[in-house]
Symmetry: C2
């Protein structure tokens, strides 16, 4: 506990300096870190092998080991990511508004860093470097709490970044990696309102829930996506099949992949057999409502629970609906407000869907897989917010800042 408190205090102190860094200095800093990562690749891989060996010994599955594993190409990707963030425009200092008020005071609303960003994540070491890059670029100190299984890798990565930073004059404390891995430590970290300005959990639904339920520090909830495609009665069926296939099967493990397919009853008989064939050929298991199964009897029956589940796998829950209205009501009841899509040729249906569906990103005739900072033109992404406070959808650099009002007068009183 005491150690985490000290780390948070150091980060706070560092953040006061870091907030004043100019764009050019931060660009050079991230470029130096990228070079240091490449130069330190062997150390990183050695540490990563320790993590992998332990995770294998603990009997972790293939998907887990894949997320944990680093190789020279992944290290090169991390370095490239840092260089990309380095080149982005610096949002800090941007004037967002203001004016001279009737009282004569002159108000400027200026974008400033948060201060200290706490990141809580699982065993994906690349998040360590992503978070360091985006936080430092936006003038924030970063307090990192990664998964236990990636600790050796994270220590190696953070030490290399810190050392490269020190050579560029980065204040001590700007990068703090929590090394204590017990749950009480994480719980304590989440209470440090005085030192941590925002907490961003990145990982599975369980991690997010734990943070949301335990944190006293303001949280940005990210990345749980129980997403839908709704195929309207008027849909172009070929387009609909392509979109459903892409949204489900191009990368089932990510949050912007769909977990549910809703089909208007008027086209269910023509659409479902084609879609089912294509999806099955791509290895997707379909779980359908009774009306689905009348049309495609090979579908397994879907349970109520299936419609609430983020499978993150080659599984799709399917449901025939009587109307657009029913589709929207289903999405608002079962969705996680992440990404939702309609396939339609009907303008009224498209408008209704976009206005009524409560989600960060609402698509007409495109795949939900586009909900991504890169695809939205942000150049970088720290996560995808599924809450409404502060930021919604992909969070880029601007979303990692707050603002303050700077007021100048010549003695005004009220």
């Amino acid at each position: 506990m005491e150690q985490i408190l000290q780390q948070a205090k150091r980060a706070k102190q560092a953040s006061e300096e870091l907030a004043l860094w100019g764009a050019a200095a931060k660009q050079r800093l991230l470029e130096a870190m990228a070079a240091a990562l490449e130069a330190g690749a062997e150390d990183i891989l050695r540490a990563n092998r320790q993590d992998l060996a332990r995770a294998e010994a603990e009997g972790r599955g293939r998907a887990f080991l894949d997320r944990l594993a680093l190789d020279p190409a992944r290290i090169a990707d991390m370095a490239a990511g840092l260089r990309q963030v380095a080149m982005l425009p610096d949002p800090v200092g941007e004037v967002l508004g203001g004016g001279t008020m009737p009282s004569g005071i002159r108000v400027v609303k200026r974008r400033v860093p948060f201060g200290v960003v706490g990141m809580i994540y699982e065993a994906r070491p690349n998040v360590t470097i992503d978070a360091i890059g985006i936080c430092l670029k936006t003038g924030n100190a970063v307090l990192l709490k990664g998964g236990r299984e990636a600790l050796c890798s994270n220590i190696a990565l953070a030490e290399i970044a810190e050392k490269a930073g020190q050579e560029m004059g980065l204040p001590a404390g700007a990068i703090e990696l929590v090394r204590s891995m017990d749950r009480a430590a994480a719980a304590y970290l989440m209470t440090l309102r005085e030192y941590i300005d925002v907490l961003i959990p990145r990982g599975g639904a369980g991690l997010i829930r734990t943070v949301v339920e335990n944190a006293r520090v303001p949280v940005i909830e990210t990345g749980v996506g129980n997403c839908h495609v709704y195929v309207d009665a008027s849909a172009d069926l070929e387009m609909a099949v392509d979109i459903v296939l892409n949204a489900k099967a191009s990368r089932p493990s990510v949050c912007n992949a769909i977990e549910n397919l809703l089909v208007h009853r008027d086209i269910a008989e023509t659409f479902l057999p084609v879609a089912a064939a294509r999806l099955s050929a791509a290895g997707v298991e379909l779980r359908g409502c009774p009306r689905c199964r009348e049309i495609v009897p090979t579908m397994r029956p879907a349970t109520e629970e299936d419609y609430r589940t983020e499978f993150l796998d080659y599984i799709l829950a399917v449901k025939v609906v009587d109307s657009l209205e029913e589709a929207v009501a289903h999405i608002n009841a079962y969705g996680t407000r992440h990404s939702e899509a309609i396939v339609t040729r009907d303008l009224t249906a498209a408008d209704y869907f976009q206005q009524r569906v409560d989600a960060a990103a609402v698509y007409v005739n495109a795949s939900t897989r586009f909900t991504d900072g890169g695809e939205f033109g942000f150049g970088a992404e720290i996560g995808i917010s599924t809450q409404k406070l502060h930021a919604r959808g992909p969070m880029g650099l601007a979303e990692m800042t707050t603002y303050k009002y700077l007021i100048a007068g010549d003695g005004q009183v009220r």
Copy 2:
């Protein structure tokens, strides 16, 4: 519990309709409510007298009774407030950004209501009408939990607003007043993440802390102001006295009033006697550090606790500092990130102060009392945020909204 859950569900349902209301309809709605308040003044006053009688019987103090009491003028003020909000531009629907991406998808970032806003507040019945006006204007349903002592007044106010709303077609549930006054009910309300999108506590430090510590719904922390004026070595002393006097004594009970005065040692001997005389004449009790008391021996000694206290009263903690740097460090350590001011003629000092002080509003040569939605040109204010997530400083209509991304394609997949 069950009742609150039902209220939250009704509010959620109403919010889906209300989000689609146009600017003109919402304007007419608020104007109708203003007229209904005036027409219902006698009912409101009768209910208020019940609250007052009970509060008096419970031995409440004068300041408490003053906040609770309504009279025809205060009801007229509430109606005028509604009419003012009615006339403001509607932020809902504003396009905040977007573009056509390399993939061909067309992205529009559009401002939308939160959905359901939960307000938790104390025994000030005017907050009921303020909150109804601002929430409905921004297309949000509102779930109100006011102080126990104002329950009769709040019921009368909410019923009049609801009835006027129904005549204008307002969906049932758009205004929900919680009538259960036990603590468990409030605690339960704070957990309803599925139905409440944001929770705004308004009241004293105790209320805010309770909400921050217990809520699972995202919170915007408001209104605790341990604010400072720092009088720099180069200050215009007459201006400094005017600003300090205004910031402390023009209305000590509000959050943008100062609680602390910091004075550079180089001018302490000339400034403090003059300031102390003017402040004492205004009824302000001064509590000073030992160096202050050498200069103004009539000051009471200040304790460490005094520097951390939001007095909200005619009391001011005073401290002599050795430098601008010490002043800024003191403010960042003791302040609540609300409003902070420097009085100086030195450009470097002004810049240093504005850049380094971590607060929502940082003033040069003006009173902290200007931190207010009206003074900042917002036309209305739901509270003053002291957190960095989502909104900082005065929150007007725009701050009561979120956004969503609307994406249109013609079959794009990724």
